[in-house]
Symmetry: C2
């Protein structure tokens, strides 16, 4: 039976990531979490705070993938334009969410400060809310597009609440083994093994640690038996190449 | 005089980034380095080791941006398919680079191991080499597409050699100031300031550190005088909001 595959695209919105000023960590977190829910991140895009670019990227992604997750651009300042871009992408107006506005008003503020904070209550018409367990303004879900904050702690809190909204497919599991050998020493054996396991993805990730080089072989697939069997063969190939598997998980 | 803008797209190739197993750090490094050369990274894409996807992403990126930088997929194993995908994207055959092959042969190996290593000597016809100061096989440049390794230390070594091949535009400089206040307290003032400096990009990046929240205001533009003048105004706005600028650079 072929795998039931459910896909996602992560759209990271923010000039600060593209300038190299901020190191993104949201992609890795989202990918790991979605994987547990049976959703595979098949692409990520990092784009600037520019309306046309955001609208085009979201429209492209929501057509090509089952789910889209955006991070960034939902704060109260002039450079936070994600909500209006999502509305434009879907061709609907921005409306005020009373529920978000109520939460924002719970924290008192001067009138002009409150007015800016209420910018965060604007969502595309038809969107539902994504809860924000940190107590701040919520994110939202518009059809298959989840719109979340960019601050990692807030994004993680939001993401932790959306599992129930997602219909995942078969869960990809992974096994891996590391050996201190050059990839070329084992490349032919790996290609042969990969050829015999079309449903398991076998990746070789070389590294230099201190003065030593090695590679980590990672197997990803939905069948626990195929994974175990492939891991056994990869370990045998390492031994045939004259080395020992030093760790596996 | 309008800015002379030169753009780039970074294409990060590798299942391990999309699965969340490996945290990418190449984008931030490339962005910072290119910025010094007057090249702005305007988009990044993270894509899997899948031929059609790589070919389409490279062809899209090389048409839309002045330069493209790829990382990953140029090793000796079966999952390293970047070189053949670039050749396919340009509609040219893969050929053996004698110069890369010579370097590979300098390190002795058994015949079958050498054969795998020589996979790394294959480049698209017409490509020139990107040096690899670590002593390993070189990367390559095909028209406006730089193809580099995925291992950060190797990628960084390769990138350090390509400055001479790049014709940059006006260099974007940045100034920033941090304050422990909520973004909403200063949002109206920031929008007003941004409106009067169309050539400087003003970003507000909120954070939580320990128990305190604050925001860092980052100004990016090519005019040193505009930056200094905007920084002055942003600091004044922080003081008007009742706080002190706690650091600037």
């Amino acid at each position: 039976m072929p795998d039931r595959i459910v896909t996602a695209c992560v759209v990271i919105i923010g000039n600060e990531i593209l300038s190299g000023r901020t190191q993104d960590t949201n992609l890795a977190h989202i990918a790991q979490r979605l994987n547990e829910w049976g959703v595979r991140v098949e692409e990520a895009r990092v784009i600037p705070d520019v309306e046309d670019v955001i609208v085009a990227a979201v429209n492209d992604a929501r057509a090509r993938f089952d789910y889209v997750f955006t991070t960034g651009g939902i704060g109260p300042t002039h450079d936070d334009i994600t909500a209006e871009c999502i509305a434009k992408a879907f061709g609907v107006p921005l409306v005020v969410s009373d529920e978000i506005a109520r939460r924002i008003r719970q924290r008192p503020a001067l009138e002009d400060v409150m007015e800016n904070r209420l910018r965060m209550a604007r969502i595309p018409e038809g969107a539902t809310l994504v809860d924000n367990p940190t107590g701040g303004p919520q994110g939202f879900l518009m059809e298959n597009v989840f719109v979340m904050a960019g601050i990692p702690s807030v994004m993680q809190a939001m993401l932790s609440t959306v599992g129930g909204e997602i219909e995942g497919g078969d869960i990809v599991r992974s096994r891996s083994v590391t050996a201190y050998l050059g990839e070329s020493q084992i490349a032919a054996a790996l290609a042969d093994i990969q050829g015999r396991y079309p449903n398991v993805e076998l990746g070789s990730y070389p590294f230099y640690r201190g003065e030593r080089y090695g590679t980590t072989l990672v197997m990803r697939g939905t069948s626990v038996t195929d994974l175990a069997s492939m891991l056994h063969e990869v370990k045998a190939a390492i031994i045939t190449a004259g080395e020992q598997p030093v760790s596996d998980e």
